[in-house]
Symmetry: C2
Amino acid sequence: MRQLTVQLEERSYPILIGSGLLAEAPQFFEQYGLTKKSPLLIITDENVAPKYLAGLEQTLRAADYTVVSAVVPSGETSKSLSVYQDMMTVAIEGKLDRSSAIIALGGGVVGDLAGFVAATYMRGIKFVQVPTTILAHDSSVGGKVAVNHPLAKNMIGAFHQPELVLYDVDTLQSLPPRDVSAGLSEMLKHGLIRDEAFAHWCEEHAEELLGLDPEALGYGLERGCGIKAEIVSRDERENGERALLNLGHTIGHAIEAIAGYGEFLHGEAISIGMAGSALLGEKLGAPAGLYDDTVRMLRSLRLPVTMPKHLDTDALMDAMMHDKKFREGHMVFIIPDRIGAARIVKDVPVSAVRDVIELLKEGAE
Amino acid sequence: MRQLTVQLEERSYPILIGSGLLAEAPQFFEQYGLTKKSPLLIITDENVAPKYLAGLEQTLRAADYTVVSAVVPSGETSKSLSVYQDMMTVAIEGKLDRSSAIIALGGGVVGDLAGFVAATYMRGIKFVQVPTTILAHDSSVGGKVAVNHPLAKNMIGAFHQPELVLYDVDTLQSLPPRDVSAGLSEMLKHGLIRDEAFAHWCEEHAEELLGLDPEALGYGLERGCGIKAEIVSRDERENGERALLNLGHTIGHAIEAIAGYGEFLHGEAISIGMAGSALLGEKLGAPAGLYDDTVRMLRSLRLPVTMPKHLDTDALMDAMMHDKKFREGHMVFIIPDRIGAARIVKDVPVSAVRDVIELLKEGAE
């Protein structure tokens, strides 16, 4: 088992990565302070439930935990205030109290939704992230939880750190190839912003990663989570460098909003966004070759790097204006300087962004 | 002007109490860190808006603040997820960003709603409490914000401290007598749990308080807020003594839930609850006379002290079981030992509570 710690003083917590961890959930839950006197609520989705829910319920009940469960539809549509209210109803009817905990069993959508329920049920109770996707190595660490508003993604949320991230890599073996690639997009992102050697490692080990080789995957997740944990430890509330983690996300969120949540996986949308950020970087003075290197790395993980032509440029620009990284009247972007280093640029000209959107459409379908 | 500080390290903030403060809002907002570069959102209700909204908007705009406003229906029904979502829409359309602030102009309902919007818009932005009721001297201090779930009051919320509480006592002069009494209920509560002399002072100055005498009101609010601030400073997240502030609230919340939000003002419901808590106190060993003294004090402020007979005892008991002060299987109550002192009792027998509900109905309509 690989173990990391997110250092946040009294809110520090461990990330455990390994094989067979779901079967040991009760002992980890107990070790990290989840009482057996109050009910647990497992929130999961329709994809994950048939594979792992009954087993986890059984394991926990055998260890004398009281468990209630809720299964939400798969996909971004479950990050709504309506599903959020349903989860509150389940929690109240399940008699969760202030000592209860919520278990997020699933990918990023489940983690974000369950985490926001935990952040606000009775003004905040404990929660545990049990990620079942590669993508969730990013979203499960750092305490950002949210649901979507019809007008903008992740607009309603909180910072609420889990007690524990329990990452059973066996659950990744059943992921469809498209989800594997989309998850590796966030893994590569961590290299692109902070660790040149890790970015190259991702490209060099692309085939092993895509093939879900346990050793490559274990190391990649450990290093990906490690970079994220390090940044979050220094800037929990995103007053500064944490924003670097948003590389590719401004364009990516706009794609998700305009294409309709669901057409693109989150990791695919930010892959296009990272290609766009590299182009912007070159426009703003980064050495030529940055875009080519970035695109080659993304392609090695079988990720899209062009903007579909049917996505209207005006609509994309408008969606970006709604994005929350638009602060005090300026357009803020995370811009790479080179592979392994990026910075926050607060006054990116809107015209440059528009040019990049158009460039990203060249060669696209 | 009277000034207090809620001591919470980096989240400490001042409570300013005085006459004419609304007209000076811009200078206080600036002093306490509200930028003019980002829009402010004022949330208020239909009662308060006609009296103070246009004036406050004008004052702020004259000082170069950008202001958007939202007016919600008066009363507890506005503490719903549906109104909450509407406020999020207004905030997004008004282009509030991470440096924006939300101004809660009104009583407890507006403060709770606006505070929860601020706690969760873009994962938390600043807010300012501008209370316009006596009751809000309690709710505006301490950072508890929430909306109601159809099954239970205040079930969905957060701890989110304001930057500033700006208490213009001139706004209290237009309060209807019933609201005055209901507000004084929370003021007396602060004496009952922590300060015997202040409880007696409230009774002795009841006529001046009911007549909105500025000197009496100023002192009463300062001392009421002061007791609250002192307790919150020591226990922000209600892991211990902050629960004392819930004196009368378990029964009070049940009354509000069963009677239908609106039939009783919050202060009236907790007045009946405090009478009930005194009865429970005597049952659990407090000296005889506690109930008579408590009831006499409450009556001096023209507050109800009996349970209406049409409220079904079973329904009340059931509502209490849903209440969030029901923790790990035991029934938790705040029980007075004497005037000026109370404690948290975690294993109050359900039968004793039922007896008290029945006793509170004797002599009632």
